[in-house]
Assembly symmetry: C2
Homo-oligomer: 215 residues x 2
């Protein structure tokens, strides 16, 4: 297992170098199944497509449902099927980017397999790790899946429009998350209504500008 | 990996023999993080505790949150922490049952790590595989995580009280699930309101009676 992780780390560093050379900001998007990763990507595309070149890599055990949703928007999209694999690996990303023209891409979003465990162990060469937790999953998830919360740069708390149907306590969540990871940015929002989405857009645009138009 | 699976299979068979000898019905409960596994267990305990001896094994990467919720009901409960592991294995169950008096147990519920991928590969010696999908996760999950849907005996569709806040289509879900697994029983319910719960109770009671009072 240590060998597998070390080999992945090497390939991830090669990926990171490629992305730096091509001035591409790469987001590794992680979440449970059904937390809203694809809806989040679609809304991000709609908001940023006029200003930036965007491409998406979709990771799933099977099916091409998600890649087709992205392609329907006219955005380049590669589907990786892992077979039974529970996470993406750097080598899969290395192969997938051969199908993209990175000179046309400013923002590459990689939608990882829906899983709060295994993706935490495998870096892909990304610039930022974006974790989505959705309100219906409950505010106790950081206690149960601490590793992925510790390793994320920003935590999107999606489906805040469902707050009143649950006993989800945003303050309790923030306390636990910040105790695990004091540097993480926490953004509650709803991909359905759009509430709170601007804060995410500011965060990602600041990083995009630093990559695309470095001062 | 094949060796790991084969070793697990052997231990699972030993577990299964122990459970048969002790006349214990064992449920392997699988789902995404936050689909409602613990709420489902708590409601099942409330409904069945007067008629049957119940015990619970809780699987999580970290924390003892869930085991404490069960213990607060006066039900024996063992917490397994997998460290970073993404699923329970038969050997962990073998060790955990040493802490239970199986002569007092009719129904043993094992709450697996929240994950729609890895638990599908590791049998534990269970009598029944119960999979929970919650409405906010979306009706497209069987296409993306087909293996776990194929291997389940009953699919609980939880949080039907949230249906109107989503575009979840129960017929579409049933079509896809039954195409993957024609023998699976599908039970929509809400652990919050109790709607539909009786159908699950009938299903499990029938199996419990066959084990506890075989004709």
């Amino acid at each position: 297992m240590q060998d597998v992780l070390a080999a992945n780390e090497n390939t991830a560093e090669e990926n990171a170098k490629l992305f730096r050379d091509k001035r591409v900001l790469v987001v590794n998007l992680m979440a449970s199944p059904g937390a809203g990763k694809t809806s989040f990507i679609l809304r991000t595309i709609a908001a940023l497509r006029d200003a930036y070149g965007i491409a998406v890599i979709e990771g799933d055990l099977a099916s091409k449902v998600d890649a087709e949703k992205i392609k329907a928007q006219g955005i380049p999209s590669i589907q990786i099927n892992t077979g039974g694999g529970c996470h993406l690996e750097a080598s899969m990303i290395r192969q997938a980017v051969d199908y993209l023209d990175l000179d046309e891409v400013d923002l590459l979003i990689i939608e990882n397999v829906g899983n709060l465990v295994c993706p935490a162990d495998f870096t892909l060469g990304e610039s930022a790790r974006v974790l989505i937790l959705s309100v219906p999953e409950g505010d106790d998830k950081p206690l149960k899946y601490p590793f992925i919360f510790k390793g994320s740069d920003i935590l999107i708390v999606n489906k805040v429009d469902m707050l009143e149907l649950t006993d989800f306590d945003m303050e309790r969540l923030e306390d636990v998350v910040l105790s695990l990871n004091p540097d993480v940015k926490i953004v509650p929002l709803s991909c359905r209504t759009g509430d709170g989405f601007d804060e995410w857009l500011s965060w990602i645009k600041e990083r995009l500008e630093a990559v695309v138009r470095p001062s």
